[in-house]
Symmetry: C2
Subunit: 567 residues, 2 copies
Amino acid sequence: MAYNYNPDTLQILPIGGVGEFGMNATLYRYNDTAILVDAGVMFPDTDQPGVNLIVPDYTVLNEVGVSGLIAGAVITHGHEDHIGGVPFLCRDLDRDMDIYGTRLTCGFIRKRLEEHRFNHKVELHEVAAGDTLSFGEIKVHLLRVTHSIVDCVALVIETPAGTAFHTGDFKVDQTPIDGKNFDFAGFAEWGRRGINLLLSDSTNIAKEGYTLSERTVGDSLRAIIKASRQKVIVACFSSHIHRIQQIVTIAKELNRRVVLLGRSLENSMSVARQLGYLKVPAGVMANKEEIRDIPEHRLIIITTGSQGEPMSALSRIVRGETKQVEIYPGDTIIISAKTIPGNEKSVMRIINSLYRMEAEVHYEEISEVHVSGHASREELKLVFSLLMPHNFVPIHGDRMQLVHHAALAKEMGLERRRVAVVDSGDILELAGDRVRKIDSIEVNRRFIEGDRFEELEDIALRDRRRLSEDGLIVVTLLVDETSAELVGDVEVITRGFLLLSDDEEEMAQIRDRVRRRFSELKRKDRLNWEAVRPKIRSALRSYFRKRMNSFPVVLPIILTVPGEKRK
Amino acid sequence: MAYNYNPDTLQILPIGGVGEFGMNATLYRYNDTAILVDAGVMFPDTDQPGVNLIVPDYTVLNEVGVSGLIAGAVITHGHEDHIGGVPFLCRDLDRDMDIYGTRLTCGFIRKRLEEHRFNHKVELHEVAAGDTLSFGEIKVHLLRVTHSIVDCVALVIETPAGTAFHTGDFKVDQTPIDGKNFDFAGFAEWGRRGINLLLSDSTNIAKEGYTLSERTVGDSLRAIIKASRQKVIVACFSSHIHRIQQIVTIAKELNRRVVLLGRSLENSMSVARQLGYLKVPAGVMANKEEIRDIPEHRLIIITTGSQGEPMSALSRIVRGETKQVEIYPGDTIIISAKTIPGNEKSVMRIINSLYRMEAEVHYEEISEVHVSGHASREELKLVFSLLMPHNFVPIHGDRMQLVHHAALAKEMGLERRRVAVVDSGDILELAGDRVRKIDSIEVNRRFIEGDRFEELEDIALRDRRRLSEDGLIVVTLLVDETSAELVGDVEVITRGFLLLSDDEEEMAQIRDRVRRRFSELKRKDRLNWEAVRPKIRSALRSYFRKRMNSFPVVLPIILTVPGEKRK
């Protein structure tokens, strides 16, 4: 662990989100003042069974002595991969925290905090695009950007050592639904004043051209819904206020009523309505108890489940598990979202089921029912041209995206030495126009399970993987405490394992193997669990390896019974 | 189970591969003669841990009394999803089998059979494009098609009840590497004679335009390899003879030597070379022991692992587990394959690792290093126009693809009633120009584990899934046989579970809960395992649900010990 700070420099330490997708968090430090930009979560892969969330282990900031310097966290926007880590941040640093975000961002953070029990105080400060925040000698200027959630900002981080520009997530939507435009003037003005280092969103670096405006999705949805003579179900991300706003507006126009299904959707809608981000004409919304009373052709249901999540509202409807909604041939189902890498199979499974039910299905590959919230290459170049940065570091992307974004910066004319591809944990230093990597620290990951927000240890995760791959075999031995001999039969139970308990012959062999191995043990060792268990385990492991090239988890249970003068 | 046969009709029963991706197998029956077209496997999803292969359960053919009518199996080409099920077919039908395929197809089947132990005889009959096979009143004409493996045929199945055309997998490659052209004349001639029913490959229905010729990949590979000053590693499918032929040819031109890494690659190359399908100039191939002696810039390594499979040669190279090969900055790695749905994350992980090693990486999204082996929409239309079928049934695709392919057939002018979308198990009947679905039977799936080719029962699979999602808790109770009281402590062991064994307080609560539930049982029930186990299980399940909203597998083990007059 090498942590170092050179006085009077702007230090930039990505804690997450660089070289990996999600859990964005970056520390900016100037002398004895630091700020954190974003504190997000990452969603697990399918080979991390039982894990709900992944967050960076912020305790590393205590270890390197930076924790106490943090004057506050500035959050760019309200997506989970930028806000979801706030409770873990407070817990890890064991301190209260001042958090700065726009009104909607604060609304989402507040909702998230209500779901957690933790002992620290989070002070939420509502700020707005155009504001400047001061943290000692660090000034943070907020510039409005457009994205797939409303009320997003990019940050200009101005210090005596130089100025960094942190884009957060963005696209350049020239016709945003709320009429609140991307701050071209602010970007150009900062470009003129001089940006020493640009850190920019790499999510869509592989996409040529421009990302279409959110407004184009509205046109497609309107046409599809207008053509439907039955009910329409739209699955989308619960935080996509503008998408939902468009559906509500279309519903009003076409004289349909809208019902929301799915807890996260209901939650974010209530936040957005309360704070005035969603304009809902009277009489459009209905609740799920009213569904049966609304004629099918007057109904639009908005649901969660665009990623094919098995417990989501859409999956449950498809499986026929909801009382209120049933899918009939000819119903229209719109998956108005991108499939996140790793979810392809689940999404395809839902779509295939829907086709089998003879529904009419629309999804990104075949209809214009979704546009991305991230800038494509031409937009990335546009922002680059507006800012004319002297140095460049790509963020928000895995290694492959960062490498391609770095190549783009070189195409834009930056010298190779002015472009750096880094990983989470790498420490960058800005001093005027010189950027260099001075060191790196190791940031661990925490695996969070269930809704208790408790941590799943690495070992449990490894066990689960093995259990899921090769199953389990439990053998129970009963040992007489006095004679150190086995009592009764060896019990064998298998789970998730090729060999089923009704294969009596194989079971007999396993029991025999265990008995023999036990009898080979020295008498004095036989009552010592710690000595017996590894022997039994390795005997069975080698048995299964040889017999069937299989590596189940072997769990030997050894119990002692009070001794008798048995023979 | 409704199976029926109407005399003098051509019955078509897809056993697999329709409404699902892989395990292609279709039965064609005319009176007392039947043939099977293809007998493939399907590869599992990531949520089917431990499963290696999935095959249809052919025993259904015994149950409906068709098994004895099968005169032989005609195989269209040598891919696993068309040949891999042959051993299971023989085992399930409990009979010998005559198999007809082209020379390379037979070569691959022979290799596959060597890896199995089973008791039946498979007679391989080598046939060729242009041949006509006779099975009673069923005549099968073989027409050459192009695809991503060589020596492929489409089948014309001619019977007194009508003629069906079964395309198998194909693309229309006008410039195939081996100069053996797609049989346009044969297709057109059969179109003129009259095709009553076309069954056609739906894999690429979502792709507009034409699939590029395999030859274009050679041009890209040549340019990339020529530009490299270091070693080049190419990952591709082991059966893709033409891809490998092109790499070998390029190696010769550029004065590089080729080493194969990966068992399946070595196997299929040895088959292809033996049978003369691969032309290898002298001195080009080297074996892996020679790698260290070949200058890096004179080396091309062809590996398996294009899907990011963790145990493949490429993954092992990236993890630094192979002695012979190490990746240096500037090495060129080419993933010359499509990412199969479900493998996106694994492939991305490999690519990210390679970028991190500062290798130069080429893959389908950013370079022209792969073309599909399946026909895009314009090719599907071309084949449709050549054959002018009177009826249409899409095959080789999941429901979503079949529905889109059916829509294409309607665009091509077929009336709606002449187009049918069916599932595996549905029974179609052709009588002249009339096609109808007369019934359906249920075809189960078999889940095959490991390399023993033994079956993994559904219940084990379900258990594994639960184990992998929520972990496991084993509680062991020792019961005095005479007094029916608990003896000693309740043992608790957890695996893959949030709650680790060192949380003593929680452990004490669990033990207490088990003791209490046990003591509530009637005395006479306490020695009856079947009575005790469900009670303990449900007590703990409700405990975990309430405490932590978690659903682990609960395994209660109850052991009795000989009674004593304990108090």
